[in-house]
Subunit: 311 residues, 4 copies
């Protein structure tokens, strides 16, 4: 794991939880819940936090709210663990502004997803190359590879080209789907070519976490509402206990698969965090998913079954 | 369950397995494997078969091959269980031609997915209305709602309009994702309005089968390589044992989730069927997914874990 | 035409030019060019302006810049013509905040495009219904129907439902493509049903303006760099001279078709405005299109041919 | 131009008209109209024909109809001009089968569009490399680059790699949109690298034909219902008369732009061909676009205006 108060780098491993952004039932930021959720994550043993990602509803915040969330979380964490900040935006200028603000507040690095409408390898490369150049050598960058949301496909060879050209690119958030072969190819081709080995943390709610750890992932960057499981699974993998890790993982898999549902998954995740006492309201900003009575009962049943299985 | 040799109708329930189409390693149809795979499915207790769906590689067959597969499977089944035939095509004429051919050979009904590029409710309705009119009252139709592949979104209200207007539409293959609310809405709104209740069988590899059964599904229409689990889970649900059903389901969930991966999932499914002795080759027609050594080892490990869990 | 300083309403007609947002070569807002561009549009006789649309690079502005552009344009216009403000955003709260700010500064109405990922008629209706409810009766709304960019398809029947339910929806910016039949259907079905007739202004650079005027459009809301042509063509149509209107339109069609190219079209438009003296720099914020030497020469040749044709 | 009865090659230039497939009003193939349409194209002076493309409704034909169309057209042409055959299919086997059939019947080459779902440069390259390998050195291939329909983006660097590796790839049908820079880049980078120069014919209805000729296109492969204009424009360009060429082009531009509308464009094209006496029915196979009374009147007016302009 990286030094708690330091920057992310190529050797970063463990669980960087994708933090939800808590709102009150009236839609306003709930800063007390920002604190309690941060505490919750820390108590569950996460290695780091990633705030203001897509599942953090970043595009629905005002600029002032964005700054407030950064400040509040970074203060609450108090240097205890690294905090990565999502800075994706339609404009390079805004990516740079947000990145500099985050780093000045004590962030450990920034996460960047590509803008939509990049179609070819060269276009994807050019986008990231430009961002990396603008941000400079001092700001560590995590590439977010999430084509299900962005519509942009980042090929293995583009990843290699970026890693070769920009030392500040130190991490890949891998959540292409299906994408496990890509993970293996990045690892195998990098090793074969003597290329710099970057950190790879996986997303997609952790749906394939055991398989991805076996293929060379260093951990997870995702927001499943039971982060203690992700933490324990990664520890077991790092301790050389893959079977035990997967046994534990599988206990949670029914609920994890349920939360995996795009769109409504965020509402399920926030409701689970609310039930666990981490936040006061499960409100998702509009337009966004809203649970109905059936959804609530179904989630409750799955949580009940998990608790029974855990004994 | 419907009468074994009869047509599908509104009361159809159980497991209609989406049948793979077996090829030899040189890409030719393997008719002996068509027989052995059909036997395999029947031995596992499926209620019916669905052949020539997307996962049956139907768009990659020649017309003669399509006819051969229909004939071979229907002959092998010998009226033992109903067989639904996928007839989706870019042209209405071909949908009709395939449907009439299938029914004349003894099919129990046809499954139709919409053509791409239908954008609004009225466009989707018009497409299906036209197909239903062309096929007439005597051919039972299963609507395939699979927007992840077709790009077409069929709303609850379109489903209602079609059910009201066309008695030959007797079944919905539900595999929108996320789509569980749609399933509940179809059921609840139909009941509230005194509308005809159609059969709903679920797809997506069965990833949410227990939840969908609780929401009113009548069974599954999917091709998971362990159909005996789907059969047993549906039986337990129909017997009023949802907890026992879900316990069983969860044993298979790690492998089922693995096979769920779009694209490569078909190669994983065929390879699993091959390992189980149901077919002789796992060949997928090109262009299509091909497993590499890591994929094979990973699949083997997951199968091994399943077998260990089953004792 | 609506009263110059009033709000847009169902009888609004003419040309609402989609205003570019001028930047300096270093990417900063160029406020002097905001003034000169506003003057340019007014001199060309436009009926109104629409600012902060997609082609106004609104998603690339900071909040402070957004406010500055609104203030600057509205002050420069000085109530001379109505100004519509684009307020589309991922969050309802931001749509409302921007709308109230725009109206308080003197805007004539707001233009709203749907968020992505709305798939069915009911989803599109619900999105707009919610926005209209939030904004209330006093803020006139223009629906922007531009599926090529949003991926959202707004059906004729959704438009009817919205018009029936929300009197504040007074205008449709029609730029579905191909979409002329939709325009006719809205007009014909509204008339047949005795429904409220709303204003329809057309987009897509004006590529089908004469055909759309004949089908019942009230004018154009687009940003072609020769707005005087759009103005004159609409006047001729309103004066009952369609053939003369189309003769004039066709003189500009080669250049208009050139500017129609999605993506690079904005760079061509700004460069044309620069060559016409309306702005000082053709800079488009990054990531965005950049003209190369061939593009410049090609544009210059087409402008030269237009000037020769105009005599 | 290539020798009339020979194969297409790198030096092919001129107009290869994308041939419509004529049906009777009942949807059956109209073989007499296949003949009359072939004669029409030849009389208009086209350099070659391209049959069974997307606008030839190839995916809606049965296999027997496909063979019939190939035979009928090739026989009618009688070696007078080269005929390229569209052979795109979901399966490599079918691409090969159709290609061998076409060549054995006397085709001059085949046109191949990629299957959907190719996302990265390497995936697109691999698809075409595989097809080219299967077809072998003796069958000339035209790459169809039409992402608006296929969703696949073929980058300049992929085109270069394919040209370098496969001498049988002799032609690019260029119809990315906007895509003029791609055309220039292929030409400029090929020249700079001493790479083999292939033939480039442009599509998109010819909407940018003059600009594309100036950027290095060798002609057009498109189906505008007035092919004599395309022929004359290409001749004038080849004769060094670009201004005269563009003057002529612009006379037709209003109608050409009208026909350019995706989807309904095919119905407009067939109706125009019908009005010109080239085919007996404008029927488009279902599901497909159908003109209504307004569409007919609008088309008639535009044709009338063209005829008046031509004097």
């Amino acid at each position: 794991m990286s030094a708690p108060s330091g920057l992310i780098n190529e050797t970063t491993k463990g669980v960087y939880v994708i933090a939800a952004t808590p709102f009150a039932d009236n839609g306003e930021l709930d800063l007390e819940s920002v604190d309690s959720l941060t505490d919750f994550y820390l108590e569950k043993g996460v290695t780091g936090l990633t705030i203001l990602g897509m599942m953090g509803e970043a595009p629905k915040l005002s600029e002032a709210e964005t700054t407030t969330v950064m400040q509040r979380v970074l203060k609450r964490v108090g240097g205890g663990v690294p905090v990565v900040v999502g800075v994706s935006d339609a404009s390079d200028r805004n990516v740079e502004r947000l990145s500099r603000e985050a780093m000045s507040l004590g962030a450990a690095g920034v996460m960047v997803a590509p803008v939509p409408n990049l179609k070819t390898d060269d276009q994807v490369y050019a986008y990231y190359a430009n961002v990396a150049t603008q941000l400079g050598r001092e700001i560590p960058i995590c590439l977010q590879d999430f084509p299900q949301s962005t519509g942009v496909h980042t090929s293995v060879s583009v990843i290699h080209r970026l890693v070769d050209a920009f030392p500040q690119i130190v991490m890949l958030k891998h959540e292409d789907f299906p994408g496990m072969r890509k993970l293996s190819q990045v690892r195998e081709q990098s090793a074969a070519a003597g290329r710099r080995r970057i950190s790879i943390l996986v997303g997609n709610g952790g749906l394939f976490l055991p398989q991805e750890m076996l293929r060379g992932a260093d951990g997870a960057m995702t927001g499943f509402a039971y982060p203690e499981m992700l933490v324990q699974v990664c520890r077991l993998f790092h301790a050389g206990e893959p079977e035990q890790a997967e046994d534990l993982f599988n206990l949670y898999l029914p609920l994890l698969r349920h939360e995996f549902q795009y769109g409504i998954g965020l509402a399920l995740r926030k409701e689970t965090l609310r039930r666990r006492g981490a936040i006061r309201s499960a409100y998702v900003r509009r337009p966004g998913p809203v649970l109905d009575a059936t959804d609530h009962a179904e989630l409750g049943r799955l949580i009940g079954r998990l608790e029974a299985a855990l004994g």
